[in-house]
């Protein structure tokens, strides 16, 4: 039995057909990226004449995109908005999760059920009242707080962190309390440092969601200077719908930094998606 459980010697020959299938699949997955790059380096509409001018090559398109559209500004906006959302979400969720997991207070179970119930509510239900609140009552259209605050409170992160905090032995709190630490110190110096992995995972998952968010930034921004990358790219597409060389250069500009971060930290990405996607199981 013991020998059977060991991994069998790997004979790659047996997997040749599998490699073949996976390679074909990889080509299919990579084709859009390849054409994005290829067209972005072609001179204006060179591909129109039913041929592929592989000998022509220019980087003018990239300069042209930056001349036409403030992509640098879109980047700055996306970074400010996504980082703020992630930090605020981690802060508010970990504080609330600490209360739900480690403290006793009246109404704890009812409040927690309420949090769980909001998980089921789709964003589209709250979007319209939020728009009225943020754009009309608060007059926050085209501001960072309008882009950041409505998505900075996550029931899902609270739920996930509460589950994790519950797994940390209660004796740790009790020992700290004996030494005179208050709840705030226990949260900051014991619970958070012990939860580094789950916090990092949540951070990556939420960053990705915030970075690619489309609907809310679309309705709450009008000014060009307040657009995030997806919205900027979509409006760029609206303006230059037939200028493929510029559209592709714009897409490459929007994607390259994200893809670099992904490839460098891809294990974290995958872990984040897995943990969040499995509902913390």
């Amino acid at each position: 039995m013991a020998t059977l459980a060991l991994p069998r010697p790997v004979a790659q020959r047996n997997y040749l057909w599998l490699h073949g299938l996976l390679l074909v699949g990889s080509i299919v997955m990579l084709t859009p990226f390849a054409f994005m790059l290829l067209v972005s380096f072609w001179p204006k509409n060179a591909f129109m004449a039913h041929r592929y001018p592989l000998d022509q090559f220019t980087i003018q398109n990239y300069f042209e995109v930056f001349r036409q559209t403030p992509f640098g500004r879109y980047y700055l906006n996306s970074i400010i908005v996504s980082v703020s959302i992630v930090l605020l979400q981690l802060l508010t969720s970990s504080l609330a999760a600490f209360a739900f997991a480690r403290l006793r207070f009246r109404g704890r179970e009812v409040l927690f059920l309420l949090y769980l119930a909001t998980l089921m509510i789709p964003f589209q239900v709250t979007m319209i009242p939020n728009y009225i609140l943020v754009a009309r009552f608060l007059q926050w259209r085209d501001t960072y707080q309008a882009l950041i605050l409505p998505t900075s409170f996550s029931a899902f992160s609270t739920f996930l962190l509460r589950q994790y905090f519950k797994g940390i032995p209660l004796e740790m709190d009790e020992a700290a309390r004996m030494d005179g630490a208050g709840s705030f110190r226990i949260w900051w110096q014991i619970i958070l440092p012990l939860s580094g992995a789950v916090l990092a995972t949540l951070a990556i998952f939420n960053f990705q969601a915030a970075w690619n968010d489309f609907l809310w930034p679309l309705v709450i921004t009008n000014k060009e200077s307040m657009r995030t990358i997806p919205i900027g790219l979509a409006s760029f597409q609206g303006q230059f719908s037939t200028e493929w060389h510029l559209l592709m250069a714009g897409s490459v500009i929007a994607l390259v930094p994200v893809l670099i971060i992904y490839i460098l930290g891809q294990n974290w990405f995958v872990r984040g998606i897995t943990l969040s996607g499995m509902g913390g199981r």
Binding site: M29, P32, F35, A96, P122, I128, P129, V219, I273
Partner: protein, 327 residues
């Protein structure tokens, strides 16, 4: 070949080790576990989160419900219309068109995505050389901004010079007009969505497959089970919680389809095409183009009702066919 969940010695051992001897008294419990001042302390911890929830989730939910029974005029005046919005929706052919389109996307996207994701995960669960590279490639579209993906697909599917049309021409065939022919617009959006999301289901399935204990496969092999029997009787039941979870998640996701349709069809004809008008697209149109916030809210509650019923039914059905490990 029935698999008994209890026959997993490796799984259950750690929990026995951690079990505390019953005789050891828990000294601290009654002295430190609970103090009355934890009440207001706990509320302080909850305050930032609760304030945000009240302002941006709970009050808006109630506001949305109220809004769905009325209409907000441009002047800012609110007028109650009772169930007028819902009655209008019931008779609105465009709304039912949107529901129909969304149903098409759910039926077309979800099964394919689960099947492709599972097949890829099964392949990458083998001791292949370079499987990390495969995983990086298949997952790349997931981190891609959907707008960029939609732009490239518009190019790839362009009738005049798109590479896919070129293949049709070179074979002597007339390529269909993928982006403006109503019968091809939906498949085009499906194609984009599959490209974008299959890596997600793959990664989740891969994690599930790696959780299946090797002993079960070994035992099945000793009993003479073929590769297909091992897949059918070991893998499928053990990953069924994941299948169930992904199914619900993807159905809800497909019901909320918006960005793909918005970017793909807006560029090809200005106004949204009838064939790709989804429920969320119709919410967006009513609220922000037609200034019908009340009607848009009513549609949003229809969406919520769907998600609620769906989650409820699935949680019920789950007990019948999903296999859960007994720890």
């Amino acid at each position: 070949m029935a698999i008994q969940p209890q026959e997993q010695p490796l799984r259950s051992e750690p929990s026995i080790d951690r079990r505390r001897p019953l005789a050891t008294p828990t000294v601290s419990r009654h002295r430190f576990a609970w103090r009355p001042d934890q009440h207001w302390e706990a509320y302080l911890f909850l305050l930032p989160s609760l304030a945000g929830f009240l302002l941006f989730v709970l009050i808006p939910v109630l506001g949305s419900l109220l809004l769905s029974f009325g209409e907000l005029k441009l002047s800012g005046a609110f007028q109650l219309v009772g169930i007028g919005n819902y009655r209008e929706l019931w008779r609105d052919p465009v709304f039912w068109r949107a529901v129909q389109n969304t149903a098409y996307f759910m039926v077309a996207i979800v099964p394919l995505q689960l099947i492709f994701g599972l097949l890829l995960a099964l392949a990458l669960n083998q001791p292949l050389r370079g499987k990390l590279a495969y995983r990086v490639i298949y997952f790349m579209p997931v981190v891609t901004t959907i707008v960029a993906g939609a732009i490239v697909f518009q190019y790839l599917l362009n009738r005049d010079f798109g590479p896919i049309s070129q293949i049709f021409w070179s074979l002597g065939l007339k390529p269909p007009n993928f982006l403006s022919d109503p019968s091809w617009q939906k498949p085009s959006v499906v194609l984009l969505t599959l490209w974008k999301n299959t890596g997600f289901t793959m990664v989740i399935y891969l994690a599930a497959l790696q959780g299946v204990p090797q002993e079960l496969y070994d035992a099945a092999e000793v009993d003479g089970a073929s590769a297909w029997q091992r897949f059918r009787n070991v893998t499928v039941p053990l990953i069924s919680p994941t299948t169930f979870f992904l199914f619900v998640l993807q159905m809800i996701g497909a019901f909320q389809l918006f960005t793909e349709a918005y970017v793909m069809t807006r560029g090809s004809g200005g106004a949204p095409a009838q064939a790709t008008l989804t429920v969320v697209y119709y919410i967006y149109q009513n609220a922000f183009a037609f200034n019908r916030m009340g009607k848009a809210s009513a549609i949003a509650w229809f969406l919520f009702l769907f998600i609620f019923i769906f989650t409820f039914i699935q949680t019920r059905m789950q007990r019948r066919w999903v296999y859960y490990e007994v720890n």
